[in-house]
């Protein structure tokens, strides 16, 4: 296929005298060279040239978008065709509060839903079980089908893609499916993603899960993937998450490596259950952090994309090209944002978003500038949406596919990141795969060490953070406005209605539904997620479902290593 490389290139001698002249002049001028490494520990040269990109000079050094190994993108059209899905993560207050803000951002240009529940939901509780001060401050209090129906009022769930930030056992999706059923919407029209189905990332990093045990979550995930394929065929049941680990301190290379290792772990679990990779892999998606290390992030995504294509084909045995495509959602990094001079964060988010776009993402959340001191305000969320609109429609970033492809630096860095990622994956493989590497604490120790290293570099001023360790300024009064908290009276009414709905149910019916959940866990061929959907339809609440499954499948404590 490829023409042989020209002898001139092979001699590693592309205009060697010119290069030497530059080198001499550079060193004479710059004096003592400052050593620069990226966050992943790869040394960065002052200049990249043809010699740094081994494939340079071949007829077809990179392949084409939509063709393996997909370095240049997973679709032939990429952002020239469909741009990316503008998916802003929001969640607050009561279901009515959430719905109002959701309709607002959809009107301003968001094209998909991403629902985040209240932290009480994350711990597996209903709203009436926790400190009322904490209700609805970080996400919407959604505990039943009725609540989900209210969250999505006037949102056509048969047309618009809905991501649910919903760990095992996926109660939010169950509520949404039953709400769709009530509206007469066939499940085969429902699209979206179970954004938090990667239980491994919860155990090692952010601990935001419904606290099923590690083996329990593993079982329920397999049931979820199998059930969705049959009943909600356009739903993505598996989102493998690198975002949590990078936010917890992993370097970009570590985050990509751990994510790919997790994807392999989950895929091999599916294979062990007899599933066909050509059927389940096209519904695997990925979710990554996009930090401010601009070129490193672009290289991370390009390298990850081609590693996955090879893994899917060679290691997991997928034959259908749709199973090789590395579809990913990116979220700009909150850790990079500062409380000091908060409007500076708009510039940071812009650079992060551009890295994700040049990295070839399919879906994007941009953080609000006020995230470093509060849960994002409505004004902050609107600027985040506008940032995406500007990048997409004013800045001409989407005119050309993979516009940085062929840059000597980007290609060399993509190669180096690929090698780094593969070596970390090798360490995980040697530890017995991701599940075992997390059980033993290996992954947590690596992430913890990287987090400490970053903190030390920032404290020493080696890593500049504008407004924090350099260019500090006195706080402007009022630069950080007071935050809105949910209206306590509205939350009280929400809880009162919830209490009334619960009391109106027949105890016998509730017990019957709970026992059906238990049976699904006991039967070899039972499907726990199918039983969760039935339980939601029968009126079970989030806490009831999680509580019963924790009893039957074990309670999950985070696997923390300090």
């Amino acid at each position: 296929m490829n023409k042989p490389v020209s002898p001139q290139l092979l001699s590693d001698d592309v205009d060697a005298p010119a290069r030497r002249r530059w080198q001499d002049e550079y060193h004479a001028t710059i004096g003592t060279e400052r050593v620069i490494e990226n966050v992943s520990g790869i040394p960065i040269q002052p200049l990249y040239a043809p010699q740094d990109w081994p494939a340079y000079g071949r007829d077809d050094p990179l392949g084409y978008p939509g063709q393996p190994d997909y370095t240049r993108g997973i679709y032939a059209t990429m952002h020239r065709g469909r741009t990316w899905t503008q998916r802003q993560l929001i969640g607050l207050g009561t279901p009515a509060d959430y719905n109002e803000r959701l309709l607002g951002i959809l009107q301003r240009g968001a094209t998909a839903v991403s629902l985040i529940p209240c932290n009480s939901v994350y711990r597996g509780y209903d709203g009436d079980s926790v400190e009322p001060e904490l209700l609805g401050t970080c996400g919407v209090v959604v505990n039943t089908v009725d609540h989900m129906d209210r969250c999505l009022r006037d949102v056509d769930v048969g047309r618009i893609s809905c991501a649910m930030n919903d760990p095992s056992p996926f109660t939010l999706l169950a509520f949404m499916l039953v709400a769709a059923e009530r509206r007469g919407i066939a499940w085969n029209r429902v699209t979206g993603t179970s954004n938090q189905s990667d239980y491994i990332s919860h155990f090692v990093a952010n601990h935001m899960f419904y606290r099923l045990s590690l083996p329990g979550a593993r079982r329920v995930l397999m049931d979820h993937i199998a059930w969705c394929r049959v009943h909600v065929p356009r739903w993505n049941p598996m989102s493998v998450v690198g975002q949590h680990m990078q936010q917890a301190g992993a370097t970009p290379a570590e985050a990509m490596a751990f994510t790919l290792s997790t994807a392999v772990q989950n895929a091999e679990d599916c294979l062990a259950r007899g599933m066909d990779p050509d059927e389940f892999l096209p519904r695997f998606t990925f979710f990554f952090d996009i930090s401010l290390s601009f070129f490193e992030e672009i290289a991370k995504f390009r390298a990850g994309r081609r590693i996955w294509a090879r893994l899917a084909r060679e290691r997991l045995g997928a034959k259908d090209p749709r199973a090789w495509r590395f579809k990913f959602h990116g979220q700009t990094s909150g850790v990079d944002l500062t409380r000091q001079q908060p409007l500076n964060n708009i510039a940071r988010v812009t650079a992060q978003a551009m890295a994700g776009i040049f990295g070839g993402l399919q879906s994007l959340h941009t953080d609000a500038y006020d995230e470093a001191y509060a849960v994002p305000s409505e004004a902050g969320a609107q600027i985040a949406v506008a940032t995406q609109n500007i990048l997409r429609e004013e800045a001409h970033l989407t005119d050309v596919i993979d516009p940085l492809g062929g840059s000597f630096y980007v290609e060399a860095l993509t190669d180096r990141m690929e090698a780094k990622i593969l070596s970390i994956m090798q360490t995980v493989d040697e530890a017995g795969g991701m599940y075992k590497a997390v059980e033993s604490g290996l992954v947590q120790r690596m992430i913890g060490a990287s987090a400490m290293r970053t903190q030390a570099r920032i404290d020493a001023g080696e890593q500049v953070v504008v407004g924090v360790n350099k260019y500090q300024a006195e706080d402007e009064p009022g630069s950080r406005p007071a935050v809105d908290r949910p209206d306590p009276a509205a939350m009280r009414r929400h809880l009162d209605e919830f209490a009334a709905t619960k009391a109106a149910r027949s105890r016998a019916e509730v017990d019957k539904a709970l026992d059906a959940l238990t049976r699904s866990t006991e039967q070899q061929d039972g499907n726990v997620f199918g039983a969760v959907v039935d339980g939601a339809r029968a009126g079970l609440t989030h806490e009831e479902i999680c509580g019963r499954l924790r009893r039957d499948l074990g309670f999950g404590q985070p696997l923390v290593v300090v």
Binding site: S120, E131, E133, L134, Q247, T338, V375, D459, A482, P558
Partner: protein, 145 residues
């Protein structure tokens, strides 16, 4: 830090409430340990009574509460519970995402200091050391009285 100083602060680093993000608490716990303190560290999601019990049993000088996602809103309840348990001398500090207007409420409730993102580990550990010394001295005076 004075290397001849053999004072060993006892510090509880923990998270109360509902949030699980623990990068901050892990880093601060490790920094306190590296600065020569006795650190009692817990995973996230501690209840207020559990924190009070630990503070009592471990005889700590300082309780450090890490909060990313609004759990600081129940810190005033923790302050009350510590006072109810007779732990008036224990010094409480909070670190994390705390809006300005709510920081004032925490300080009013008796929190000694709120550390925001951007604080260095040196700043945090030297302040904690100072608070621990105060707490230890106050407890000793109370014992004498």
């Amino acid at each position: 830090m004075n290397p001849d100083d053999d004072f060993r602060p006892r510090v509880l680093v923990t998270k109360i409430g509902l949030d699980g993000h623990d990068r901050g608490s892990r880093i601060v716990a490790a920094a306190c340990r590296d600065a020569g303190m006795e650190v009692i560290y817990t995973p996230p999601w501690q209840s207020i009574p559990a924190v009070v019990k630990l503070a009592l049993e471990e005889d700590v000088d300082v309780v450090g509460i890490s909060s990313l996602a609004t759990d600081h809103l129940i810190v005033p309840k923790l302050m009350q519970a510590l006072r109810d348990a007779g732990l008036d001398n224990v010094c409480v500090v909070v670190g994390g995402i705390v809006p300005d207007d709510e920081e004032a409420l925490l300080l009013e409730a008796g929190v000694r200091e709120v550390f925001h993102p951007g604080s260095t580990m040196d700043e945090i550990t030297s302040r904690i050391r100072g608070y621990a010394r105060e707490a230890r001295r106050a407890a000793a005076e109370e014992d004498r009285a």
